[in-house]
């Protein structure tokens, strides 16, 4: 008589099963509350086909306007990145809790939190109201966006360093900035350069869209083409944006390769 083997090799993972059930249930709920029905989707697909049809071939006739806008987009990205990176160094440093006293970290962290929580478009709308249409609003927007991103990651990087070299430099009587330059920065510089180049890349992408609300750059032309049903020009604009972004990524990788050690 064989003994009944009641040991199971794979225990049913009830938590995971519940999790998957919850996800599927959520999908159903969300689809219903968002009013997404199959009909709308199908009609949309037909529209989409028509849409794609009118986008091909892309129309580069107005390339002068396109080029001018792209240049402005690039300018916005360059200026905003330069100032944004320059500001995020001290702000990120001020926000690091292992080096700075609370009267410095609290305001810095608050500023960074505000800059991060709002999508750049919201900043763009506010700045357009404040300084008018044009690239200035876009530049200010992206400066704040850069501070939010780089500031947070930089502060986190500083909070992870070893404080031992800091102790040694302080014991040798070095002034505050020299301590930062010799004991802190060498430990975080590689990561900072990574953040800065990533943000430059992101700024190029973001500056293509702040124009939608009037903050300069190619976004304005894009939105106008869309509203006038100039879909073939729209296609040309999209292609140029993709090329510009890829160029930015390539430049960023070169900078990282030269400065990292």
């Amino acid at each position: 008589m064989s003994a009944v083997n009641t040991r199971r090799a794979f225990k049913p993972n009830w938590l995971a099963r519940l999790g998957w059930l919850a996800v599927i249930g959520y999908c159903v709920l969300a689809f219903w509350s968002l009013d997404i029905t199959w009909d709308r989707f199908v009609i949309g697909l037909e529209n989409g086909a028509k849409f794609l049809g009118s986008m091909i071939p892309p129309n580069f006739e107005r390339w002068k306007l396109l080029l001018g806008n792209l240049l402005e987009t690039l300018e916005i990205a360059v200026i905003a990145s330069a100032f944004g990176v320059a500001f995020s160094l001290p702000i990120g440093l001020a926000a690091s809790r292992n080096l700075m006293p609370t009267w410095a970290t609290w305001p810095a962290r608050l500023l960074i939190a505000i800059c991060r929580s709002f999508h750049p478009v919201i900043f763009a709308i506010l700045f357009v109201k404040a300084v008018g249409f044009g690239p200035l609003a876009g530049i200010l927007t992206l400066i704040f966006a850069s501070i939010g991103f780089i500031g947070k990651l930089f502060a986190e990087a500083i909070e992870e360093i070893s404080l031992k070299p800091v102790e040694a430099c302080r014991a040798a009587g070095a002034p505050f900035m020299s301590v930062i330059l010799y004991a802190v920065l060498p430990q975080v510089l590689n990561r900072f350069i990574g953040f800065a180049t990533y943000q430059f890349d992101a700024n190029i992408r973001n500056s293509t869209m702040v124009g939608i609300v009037g903050a300069g750059g190619i976004g304005g032309t894009l939105f106008a083409a869309f509203q006038r049903f100039d879909y073939d020009f729209l296609a040309a604009i999209l292609i140029s944006i993709i090329i510009l972004v890829m160029l930015g990524e390539y430049l960023a990788s070169i900078v990282k390769a030269v400065f990292n050690d």
Binding site: R40, G44, V245
Partner: protein
């Protein structure tokens, strides 16, 4: 005693670094000279901002129930569903892009092109496109968020897949397992922490994105914001901004807590 020279970087390194500094400075100077800014507007900015903030205070909390609450929920659903859609779509693309899983360079390149294009086009621009296709509303918004997120998730997933340990894969191949089983038992266990981490990360970003795509008509609280701004109801604008801020902070806290528990 002869004095010895010490330099931190080799001449080649210094040249490269100098070239980049120079290029950056030139780019900055040229940009600042050619960009069309009216300086008066810059100096006027603080007064204008102060004026705007005074109009925003106090935030119109009464407006919440009728104008904001449902829109906020809608944005959250758009973010959630958009992320799920992105995950479903990005997994196959990531598999195609990973050179250790798809050894055909043409397919790798094609998949990477898809990912780069998805990333280069802003969520807002995707939203504009899909509003043209599907009409205004949350369907356009969800798909826009999904398409934008494919690039993000696909890239990180592809990198995670490429870093997988080949050992278990070889073992299963040697045992004659079919490919789907190899994927499920050798690759998936290695990438699943990364997968969930990427999911959380992208959901966090999508919460922010979904709040603003309504500005171009793609549903959610952005539409309420657009209305309020167009009607110059600054107190309502302040309320909506505060709600967005609160939702984003809560989402971040949730993500951080889940991260600590699982990863």
């Amino acid at each position: 005693m002869t004095s010895r020279n010490w330099e931190r970087f080799t001449p080649a390194q210094r040249l490269a670094r100098f070239a980049i500094y120079l290029a950056a400075v030139i780019a900055l100077v040229v940009s600042m000279r050619t960009v069309q800014i009216v300086p008066e507007f810059l100096y006027d900015a603080p007064t204008q901002m102060a004026d705007m903030f005074t109009r925003m205070w106090p935030p119109d909390f009464a407006h919440y129930r009728e104008g904001v609450h449902l829109a906020l929920i809608e944005s959250m659903h758009i973010a959630g569903m958009g992320t799920i859609l992105a995950l479903v779509m990005s997994l196959p693309v990531a598999l195609l892009a990973a050179s250790n899983i798809t050894p055909i360079p043409a397919l790798n390149w094609f998949a990477r092109l898809i990912l780069v294009s998805s990333r280069s086009v802003n969520t807002l621009v995707w939203a504009i496109l899909f509003v043209a296709v599907f009409g205004p509303g949350s369907l356009a918004g969800t798909i826009a968020i999904g398409f934008r997120s494919i690039g993000f998730c696909g890239k990180l997933l592809g990198e995670a897949l490429e870093e997988c340990n080949k050992g278990p894969v070889e073992a299963l191949k040697a045992a004659g397992a079919p490919w789907p089983s190899i994927f499920l038992k050798a690759y998936w266990p290695q990438v699943s922490p990364a997968f969930w981490g990427i999911t959380l990360f992208r959901w966090d970003i999508n919460v922010r994105e979904s709040a603003v795509i309504g500005l171009v008509g793609a549903g959610g609280i952005g539409m309420a914001l657009d209305t309020a701004i167009a009607l110059f109801r600054w107190n309502q604008v302040a309320l909506i901004l505060l709600c967005i801020f609160a939702v984003v902070i809560v989402a971040e806290i949730v993500v951080t807590k889940i991260r600590q528990k699982i990863i």
